[in-house]
């Protein structure tokens, strides 16, 4: 359970992020998860100064494009590049694009963080 989790669609993302930026919140990090047919992206923010965490969550298809929030929060550049490399998330308009070579080298595995068939099956069986 994450308190203050807000489910949005990817089109609302930039508007919602802008609200956080206007309220002078601090960007904490993002996390992606492979749901099989979709990717689930969660961004975490902290209302500074203080320890008040809130989150934005949306899911996208694996071939859909997602707007980059690096125009609002420059610090998201690392996490967006990482999701692009490891999960294959298609982020457009990145402030600094490492071109898929931030974490991975030329002969690294392709999209290594995506789940295997066995993992997805085990998750469905175990989860309730």
């Amino acid at each position: 359970m994450i308190d203050k989790l807000k489910e949005i669609s990817k089109d609302q993302l930039l508007a919602e992020v802008k609200k956080y930026a206007d309220a002078k919140a601090r960007f904490v990090t993002g996390s992606a998860n492979d749901l099989g047919d979709k990717l689930e992206i969660t961004y975490f923010f902290n209302a500074s100064p203080g320890m008040d965490l809130s989150a934005l969550r949306f899911s996208v298809g694996k071939d859909e494009e997602v707007p980059s929030m690096t125009g609002i929060y420059l610090t998201a550049v690392l996490i967006e590049n990482e999701m692009k490399e490891l999960f294959g998330l298609k982020v457009k308009d990145l402030a600094i694009d490492f071109g898929g070579h931030m974490m991975l080298a030329q002969d690294s595995p392709v999209l290594p963080m995506l789940k295997t068939e066995e993992q997805l099956a085990a998750g469905k069986k175990g989860g309730n």
Partner: protein, 360 residues
């Protein structure tokens, strides 16, 4: 206009033995642009944590970073405990606090030594590391290993501190404090140190928040924010107040860490005094349930963020680790342009970078 050159800074031992490359765009001696390149140490630990059984991940997470190893293990246990949620016994939470603060003590001594090394003050570097060795020794006495402590398990801790060890630790800590005071006096008051650090890499309050910084780096810009104020483990019982400086430059960052060094020792002494009797660990029931949890813990370098998602099996569905340096690296993009080439090492060091732990 002077011609521009691109100078690679790193990845082999740029100030500190960590693999980061900064592509510095220079105009004569002045930096005008910078692109950081990381990725030399990516080990895929997040993926490995999905494939491993959850109790085995503790030892893997401890190896994300060598310096904050104990706190990585504890935070992993903390986030998995939050999936049930599972209460840990009070003695275990006090012991975790003590070991976390011990790790902070030795990490800050290490950083202060490296800072002295970065501007060429070799003898002070040696002195700081000599003191640090005493802290590592008490860590080895109480936990069994000086670097990878492996003291935390899901539900509590594995080792106890007995009365003899407690007495010894208190003696050593008081000794360390006395010796560190003599050296910190030099660091804070010496004019050569000030000449190299004051006004280098300045970040204002608003910039610090917009860049999403964390830890001493954030507090040096005047933001009073510390994960320990959440009161996890025993921090709620201890008298604890975040240390803040307002300069926002490299000198303020050193001052914050000097303050935290004393504070860490005081917190340990207080925790030793209040250490309750009781069980060391609670036994978790079954596998982690299908749930999500977030844990934020203050490491020596800043806030570490763990996100875990369980699915009812012995494996976690997803574990995300964001280490403090991950949040602090983008600040280099703002701090470095405009500074002299000779100041680059000190500014890079002032964020206390731990690159291999950033890449996991």
């Amino acid at each position: 206009m002077a011609p521009r050159t691109i100078t690679p800074f790193g990845p082999q031992h740029p100030v500190l033995p960590e693999p980061i490359q900064l592509k510095l765009e220079l105009e004569d001696e002045r930096v005008v642009g910078v692109v950081p390149a990381i990725g030399y140490g990516h080990r895929g630990i997040e993926k490995a944590c999905e494939l491993n059984e959850y109790p085995k991940n503790i030892y893997l997470c401890e190896r994300i970073c060598g310096i904050c190893s104990a706190i990585h293990g504890m935070t992993y246990c903390d986030v998995v405990e939050k999936l049930w949620p599972l209460e840990i016994p009070p003695r275990a939470s006090y012991l975790r606090t003590i070991w976390a603060e011990m790790a902070r003590t030795h990490s800050h001594l290490l950083w202060l030594g490296l800072l002295a090394d970065a501007f060429g003050f070799e003898s002070m570097f040696m002195q700081y590391w000599r003191i640090r060795e005493k802290v590592l020794d008490i860590l080895e006495i109480t936990t069994g290993h000086r670097v990878t402590q492996s003291v935390s398990i899901v539900g509590g801790v594995r080792r106890d501190i007995d009365d003899d060890q407690k007495k010894h630790c208190i003696e050593v800590l008081k000794d360390v404090r006395k010796e560190a005071e003599a050296l910190n006096n030099v660091l804070v008051n010496d004019y050569t140190v000030k000449a190299r650090t004051v006004g280098k890499g300045v970040l204002s309050y608003d910039q610090a928040i917009a860049l999403g910084l964390c830890g001493p780096h954030l507090r040096a810009s005047g933001v009073k924010e510390d994960c320990r104020t959440q009161g996890y483990w025993a921090y709620g019982d201890l008298s604890y107040e975040p240390i803040v400086a307002t300069g926002g430059d490299s000198f303020s960052r050193a001052a914050v860490r000097v303050g935290e060094l004393y504070q860490a020792i005081d917190l340990q002494l207080e925790a030793f005094g209040k250490l309750p009797e009781g069980e060391l660990a609670a036994k978790p029931k079954g596998n982690p349930p299908a749930n999500e949890a977030v844990s934020r813990v203050e490491q020596p370098r800043g806030e570490v963020f763990y996100y875990a998602k369980g699915n009812g099996t012995r494996n976690l569905e997803r574990l995300r680790v964001r280490t403090p340096t991950y949040a602090n690296i983008p600040s280099l993009l703002v701090m470095l342009p405009g500074c002299e080439l000779a100041d680059v090492p000190i500014i890079v060091l002032s964020i206390d970078p731990c690159i291999s732990c950033t890449e996991r």
